[in-house]
């Protein structure tokens, strides 16, 4: 039993035996799984609960719903309970009504028979696993959820394409040309790495207002496209492309545009891929910028829509949770596929 486990975890620290440090390490890591994954898993499981299951306290991990059965003589299906009597026997009964701390139940097989009156402590609801898909389907119809999804998709795709194109063009100029003002431009860009949006909230709002981009998706897509981070990342990469390649292409008569498009871009593909993934994550998760620019419901992105959701539907947790799961799902899938790429990308570039 122990041997295969040891093999799985490997012998640690180069020692032959496990020692206290290894044991502590694994305790730490497994606590880590619970704290880091647990809350999301809990949210996913809860999102399948019926409104009744959501209200239940203490909550269950699995989405359980009480079984109800139709009983002759009653219009509504009645909820099933297991009732423990004083003599220790247990009977499966259907509840007709509840009067304060007392519950009145009948035998569903014999609806006209004896009416049992027991304390509510004596009964246990009979439950089965059931997934309330309506939590997911209702909001799709009743709220603008599909539209939010579409807006988020448009913003993410358009902004990422724009970011890739203009950042790579700028990086090309800054890495492969000598021109007046090059260092000045580069320095100014670098220094604004230190200017976060939170510091220029008011003037950015004023600028977008003046251009007339309030309540347009343009106002969300364009301003963030000129990321200094992206230019810096791509420039560092393009510096490693030998200048001779460009020189010989020029001798062959290629225009500068063709050099950019057919030599620089393919060679910079790895760096472009890193930037593309980051851009998708930034844009999909972005809250502050769309929150400032968009105040019309039909233009909301998922993040802004979800935020307004929780304001309006403060008690409808089943819908809020389902929408939360749909919002985190795409990024989680991307991460599941590209996790090694993303984590090593961040470790080497230091950007997020």
């Amino acid at each position: 039993m122990i041997a295969p486990l040891k093999k799985f975890f490997g012998l640690t620290h180069g020692h032959k035996r496990w020692d206290w440090a290894d044991i502590l390490s694994y305790i730490y890591l497994f606590l880590g799984i619970i704290i880091m994954f647990g809350p999301v898993l809990w949210t996913v499981m809860s999102s399948f609960k019926t409104p009744g299951g959501i209200e239940e306290f203490p909550p269950t991990f699995l989405p359980l719903a009480q079984i109800t059965i139709p009983v002759e003589g009653y219009e509504e299906p009645l909820p099933l309970f297991d009732v423990t009597f004083e003599d220790g026997s247990i009977k499966r009964l259907a509840q007709v009504r509840r009067v304060g701390p007392q519950s009145q139940l009948i035998d569903p097989e014999n609806p006209t028979g004896e009416l049992y009156k027991v304390s509510i402590q004596q009964r246990q609801p009979v439950r089965k696993l059931s997934f309330a898909w309506s939590n997911y389907l209702d909001p799709l119809q009743r709220f603008n959820f599909l539209r939010y999804f579409r807006n988020s998709l448009i913003v993410t795709v358009a902004a990422t394409l724009l970011t890739l194109i203009i950042n790579s063009m700028a990086a090309f100029a800054l890495s492969k040309y000598q021109f007046k003002g090059r260092n000045a431009i580069f320095l100014i860009m670098l220094s604004t790495l230190m200017v976060p949006l939170s510091v220029i909230l008011v003037p950015v709002f004023v600028v977008i207002y003046q251009i007339g981009w309030l309540n347009t998706l343009w106002g969300v897509i364009i301003p963030g496209a000129a990321t200094p981070t992206g230019v810096f990342l791509l420039r560092q990469y393009m510096l490693t492309i030998p200048d001779d390649l460009l020189a010989s292409a020029r001798i062959d008569g290629a225009s500068e545009w063709r050099i950019y498009w057919q030599i620089i871009l393919p060679l910079a593909a790895p760096a472009m891929a890193v930037l593309a993934i980051f851009s998708v994550m930034w844009r999909w998760n972005d809250f502050l910028w769309p929150f400032l620019v968009l105040s019309k419901n039909e233009l909301f992105t998922l993040q802004v829509g979800l935020n307004s959701f929780q304001g309006e539907l403060n008690t409808d947790w089943n819908y809020i949770l389902a929408m939360t799961v749909l919002t985190l799902l795409p990024i989680t899938l991307v991460f599941a596929v590209l996790q090694l790429f993303i984590t090593s990308g961040i470790a080497t570039t230091g950007i997020k």
Binding site: F9, S25, Y28, V40, A170, I185, Y209, G224, T332, T343
Partner: protein
């Protein structure tokens, strides 16, 4: 399918050709060297309008008053916004200030940043050390700690609100242990604890990765040498790992401090700054003063507060730069 891919390649060729004709003409007109300006232009334009211009506009707006949006319509009022912010009888009692919410937000932000950053660096270093020891399934555990970094602030806030709500998981666990139920986000101290907790939860994976890269850059030969010299594992940690990791730790410290000072969205969605103003941070003050309420927009005051926040961030950044230079000098 084949037809479709053929169509796509034709289309992209046509597009390149079209751009090529256009850019070649341009190149003939302005010369090869000046094409560089054309390439930086789109980026520079967007960048100037949405980052550079706002930086200067911020200063200007902070010297103006009134509720007009357009800068040209605004009244120049000199330093009066700053005077209003600094109008305090006693700087150690926020309630004696005319703009007391600003100072409460400053105090909250300072308290938040100190606790959040120190605890987050502590946990990130611990996690990085554990992940760097020869544990099995390391890539998996690394992803586990990193996963919350990818969640959006809205998702982070909602997931934790669900766990902390009155009938939530945490209260169920508490009552199972025989303790009393706590309405977490309605009690100032608990709400403050939880905004620190959830921001650490959401961001520590990022710093853990950076620290892990720092740990892996320490040459293994150092440890082999210390092993031969009979050093204990503790001595190796104290005399090799810690000093070698110090530069990375400083970078992480300053980076996370810069982030912590501008925390907004997670906390805003999580507690709305409440209860009362117990968890209102500086950026939320700026947002609420300048942008939230359309009727009482106080752009000037919000801009003045942004300028003060910007100066604080600039100081941290300069410290980071000088630290970076120092560590380069000392490590040769």
């Amino acid at each position: 399918m084949n037809l479709f891919s053929k169509f796509l390649s034709r289309l992209s060729e046509a597009l390149i050709g079209f751009f090529d004709v256009f850019f070649s003409r341009l190149q003939g007109l302005i010369g090869l060297k000046n094409m560089a300006y054309i390439f930086v232009l789109p980026n520079l334009l967007i960048f100037s309008v949405f980052i550079l211009l706002p930086v200067f506009l911020n200063f200007y707006i902070s010297f103006t008053g009134g509720t007009n949006i357009l800068p040209q319509d605004r009244l120049f009022v000199g330093l009066s916004n700053y005077q209003q912010i600094f109008d305090c009888d006693d700087f150690f009692k926020t309630s004696t200030c005319s703009e007391d919410i600003f100072w409460r937000a400053v105090a909250n932000t300072a308290k938040f940043s100190i606790f959040q950053v120190s605890l987050m660096v502590l946990f990130s270093v611990m996690t990085a050390l554990v992940l760097n020891s020869k544990v099995g399934a390391r890539a998996f555990f690394r992803s586990v700690f990193f996963y919350p970094v990818l969640l959006s602030p809205v998702v982070v806030a909602l997931v934790w609100r669900w766990i902390l709500q009155r009938n939530g998981l945490l209260n169920a666990i508490l009552m199972d242990l025989g303790l009393d139920r706590i309405v977490w986000l309605s009690e100032s101290n608990w709400a403050f604890f939880w905004i620190i907790f959830i921001t650490i939860w959401a961001h520590m994976g990022f710093y853990t990765l950076i620290l892990l890269a720092g740990l892996q850059a320490i040459p293994a030969s150092l440890y082999e040498a210390s092993n031969i010299d009979g050093a204990s594992r503790w001595q190796a940690f104290w005399h090799i790992t810690l000093p070698m990791l110090m530069p990375t730790m400083l970078v992480v410290l300053i980076l996370s401090l810069i982030r912590a000072v501008q925390t907004f969205d997670e906390v805003f969605i999580f507690t709305r700054g409440g209860p009362g103003s117990a968890t209102t941070l500086m950026v939320q003050y700026i947002y609420e003063t300048g942008l939230a309420d359309l009727a009482t927009r106080r752009f000037g005051l919000a801009s003045a507060a942004s300028v003060i926040l910007g100066i604080a961030l600039l100081i941290f950044t300069l410290i980071q730069l000088s630290l970076g230079r120092n560590s380069e000098n000392t490590s040769g």
